[in-house]
Symmetry: C2
C-alpha cells in the first residue's frame, strides 16, 4: 500500500498549556487565541476533545521562551472565562511521524502507538491528520521514542 513515512521529528523546547473547565460555547476558543496572538505568542498543537456537561478543556503548546508571557495572558483568561484551572508542563516532548499517502492510516497510527506501548511510553496527548501523527510524551522518553520509531519504520536514525 502506498504509504511513505517521510520523517520523524522531535520538539523538546515547548511547554504544554491546558485550560480546563471552560464553557463549551461559541467565542471561548477565539477569546483565548486572540489574546495569545495579540501578545505575539505563537502556539502549536491546539487540541480540544469532546466536551462534557457544557464544559471543555483546550491544550496547546508554546515555545519555552514565550512561557512567561503566556502565563500572564492565561492568568487573565482564567479569570475572564471562569476557568477551573490553567496548568503548565515543561517536561514534555512532541514527537511527530510525517507521512504521505497514509490510506493505511489506521495501521500507521496503530503502529506508532504500539511501538510506544512496547517501550512502556505513555501517550499524554494525541493529534493526527492524514499526513501527520503527533504525540506528547515525557521529555525523558523522547530519544528512546525517536530511535524506536526510526527502527520500526526502517528509517535511518
Amino acid at each position: 500500500e502506498d504509504v511513505l513515512i517521510s520523517g520523524i521529528a522531535k520538539k523538546d523546547n515547548e511547554v504544554r498549556v491546558n485550560i480546563a473547565g471552560i464553557p463549551d460555547k461559541p467565542g471561548v476558543a477565539s477569546t483565548i487565541f486572540k489574546q495569545l496572538a495579540d501578545a505575539n505568542i505563537n502556539v502549536n498543537m491546539i487540541v480540544q476533545s469532546v466536551g462534557k456537561e457544557g464544559h471543555s478543556q483546550i491544550s496547546f503548546t508554546v515555545i519555552n521562551t514565550d512561557l512567561d508571557e503566556a502565563k500572564k495572558v492565561m492568568a487573565k483568561l482564567q479569570t475572564e472565562l471562569g476557568a477551573e484551572s490553567v496548568t503548565y508542563d515543561a517536561d514534555i516532548a512532541i514527537v511527530s511521524v510525517v507521512g504521505v499517502g497514509m490510506k493505511v492510516y489506521a495501521g500507521i497510527a496503530a503502529a506508532v502507538f504500539d511501538e510506544l506501548a512496547k517501550n512502556s511510553i505513555n501517550l499524554e496527548m494525541i493529534s493526527t491528520s492524514e499526513i501527520k501523527i503527533s504525540v506528547v510524551i515525557r521529555k525523558a522518553d523522547a530519544e528512546k521514542t525517536v530511535q524506536a520509531l526510526h527502527k520500526r519504520f526502517f528509517l535511518q536514525a
Copy 2:
C-alpha cells in the same frame, strides 16, 4: 508575513467516536487502534487532550459507511478497557483550513475561531498543526462556516 491559506475543506460524511474514562497508561491507545486497523477501519482526526486523575478520553472519526463495523469493535473495547462510555455523533462536519508558512500561526487559528464565534458556531473539537487547522462543528453549520472562512481569507468560494 508569509502566510498562504491554500484551501478550506469540508467533510460531512464522517462520524465522531469518543471513548471516555479509559486508563491513561501505556498500551491503551495501541489496543484501540490496532483493533480498528485489524477490522480495516480507517480513522481520521485522532484527538486526545490531557488526562485527569489517571483517566483520559480519545476522540476520532470514521467514514459513516464504516460505522456499523466500528461499533462492534468499540463495544468489545469498552468491555476490555473498562471504559466509562463510548459515544457516536454522526451530525458533525469537519472543516479544515490548510495553509503554508503559518508562522503567524497563532493569528490564523485566532482568526478561524473568531470567524466561527461571530457566526455563533460552537467549536466541538479542535486539532491543529503548523499547516492545518481542523475543527468539528454541527453538520448544519458546515456550509455557513466554509462560506464565512472563504470570505474572511479572501478566497474564491
